[in-house]
Amino acid sequence: MVGQRFLLGVSSLIVLGLAYTLLSNASRFIDVDQLPDPLRSTLRPDVLPPTQALVQAIVDLVRGPEKQPPPDEPAHMHNHVHTSDHVGVLLQQGVTLQTSLLITTGRVLFGMVVGAPLGILIGLLIGLSRRVDDYIHPIYVLVRSIPPLALITYIMLWLGHTEAHRLIPIVYAVATTMVIPTYHGVRDLASTYLVAARSLGARGWLLLRRVLLPAAGPAVLSGLRYALAIAWMTAVGSEMLMADNGMGNLIVGGGMWASRFQTRSDPAVVMVGILGLAAAGWLMDSGARLLTVRLTRWAR
């Protein structure tokens, strides 16, 4: 069974990869201009980047910029080279794939570390007490409805052009996402245990550690995995809008938003960026899944 799964998965990767390579290289074998329109405008190397261009982009972006300018040219020439291509602009800024990935991962982790406890705390509070729930829940619903990325410019006005307006939306997104699973974990799953434990006299720390956390644990952990995905999305979005480093910046290729979309970005770089993001997201999610399995072993 596992063998078949692996085999079919790998062969589907290979087949579609080959098909893409053929399609993206079509302009070499046939005269694309004679094809009918949707094909003619699609089968171009600047629309569908050939596989070798993707590999080249990966190699360039991983290797990073050349360290030394050639000695026979004055240094200022290098500061004002107008490179029009996406990779060139990135390399000029000293951007590499691995540093961008690291920076974005760092932001995601910061968002998780700060946002998750915050969200879990709020979820516990409103899940535990009906009274607090009645007062806080309407406010939470209001706050949750605002998309985090829409907050960036407002945060910038308050705190200036700093790291804060990239991190706060991520923290905000993670926290608002974590409230609901915690709330339902406490309210739906734990209420019977809670009543029993309370009537037996458990209170405070004992109640939290021995009853609440184990009972709400699985729901909270699966919420964490979902929050991780949200954090990646928010991080990349805020980097695309307002950041000069990280994967979002790599994808749109430097500069500020308005100018970013006037220069066409290179699809090869965008695809490489997406592959990198997907790989990093997958790795983190697998880690979270393993952790979940380990931590909730008692539950099955």
């Binding site: 078949q4 799964r5 079919l8 998965g9 062969s11 589907s12 990767l13 579609l16 699609t42 600047d46 629309v47 009274r131 009645d134 007062y135 806080i136 309407p138 406010i139 619903v141 209001l142 409805s145 605002i146 998309p147 990325l149 829409a150 907050l151 960036i152 410019t153 407002y154 910038m156 006005l157 308050w158 200036g160 052009h161 995905a229 990646w232 999305m233 991080a235 990349v236 979005g237 695309m240 809008l241 979002g248 994808i251 749109v252 938003w257 979309f261 066409r264 970005s265 699809p267 965008v270 695809m271 960026g273 997406i274 592959l275 993001l277 997907a278 790989a279 997201g281 997958w282 999610d285």
Partner: protein, 270 residues
């Protein structure tokens, strides 16, 4: 209306009212205390109201409504959300149902769904601009993609969650695969699919804030926000935020009441 419900509504109004009053007081104090001139990296911005008073918010709102900017933006953005949501949810549910039912198909699709799942939809925006141009298509398709991923996962897991006993029993009684799918898999998977659509709807609103920054033209909420950030014009910014928040809230309420209505048959006691 029961006493508990009345109590809940009273408390909700109380806390929301308290927030509103606190904001009002903070804004009145802020008018004197907060700086009106902000240093932004390379230049000063003048006449900034970091916490606009209710009066300036009301003036701005009146202007935005009278000039028909806000209503038309709401219509245009909601239209895009609806189009993208319909497209994405149909595509996602079909794929999710298929991979949930057919194991071989799942194995073949697995690498690609994994790739799609961990791709932040917003990162696709530059690619969509190249592929589908600056027009309406790339915005709607971006929303559709982010919706489709969530709907696909939801449908897949929902189909997988159908108890094997039901399927075995139906097969033992001689039901054809088609009948099993229509009469057992779909109804049993429906609530979870609907729940994932509710999540996807909220995600669609997140996506549009960024999607509407390409080929930004005026009647659109995303551009309204971006413009308000560029001036910067705080009352407009906050009204834009509140408008999107309200729309997210309303669409969520709509989905929730629809969910309650269509799954009434499976309501259990307790």
């Amino acid at each position: 209306m029961s006493l508990v419900q009345r109590n809940r509504i009273k408390r909700a109004l109380l806390s929301l009212g308290a927030i509103a009053v606190v904001y009002g007081i903070a804004a009145e104090i802020g008018r004197w205390v907060l700086p009106h001139r902000i240093w932004m990296d390379v230049h000063y911005i003048d006449n900034v109201e970091l916490l606009p008073t209710y009066q300036s918010l009301a003036e701005e709102l009146a202007f935005l409504i009278q000039s028909w900017i806000l209503p038309s933006s709401i219509l245009v953005s909601t239209g895009r959300i609806l189009a993208g949501f319909l497209l994405g949810s149909v595509a996602g549910i079909v794929v999710g149902l298929a991979t949930g039912r057919a194991a071989r198909l799942e194995y073949v699709a697995d690498p690609w769904t994994t790739l799609l799942r961990f791709t932040p939809a917003l990162a696709l925006l530059p690619l969509y601009v190249i592929w589908f141009g600056y027009g309406e298509a790339s915005k709607i398709l971006l929303i559709a993609t982010s919706v489709a991923v969530v709907a696909m996962l939801g449908a897949h897991q929902a189909v997988r969650g159908v108890p094997q006993v039901y399927l075995d029993a139906a097969r033992a009684l001689g039901a054809s695969p088609r009948l099993i799918f229509r009469k057992i898999v779909l109804p049993a998977a429906f609530p979870q699919i609907f729940a994932s659509l509710r999540v996807a709807l909220a995600l669609a609103w997140v996506t549009i804030v960024v999607a509407e920054l390409i080929d930004a033209k005026m009647p659109s909420l995303g551009y309204l926000l971006a413009l308000a950030g560029a001036y910067p014009r705080v009352p407009q910014m906050l009204i834009g935020l509140a408008t999107i928040g309200t729309l997210v809230f309303l669409s969520d309420m709509l989905a929730l009441s629809l969910h309650a209505k269509v799954t009434r048959w499976m309501r259990r006691t307790g």
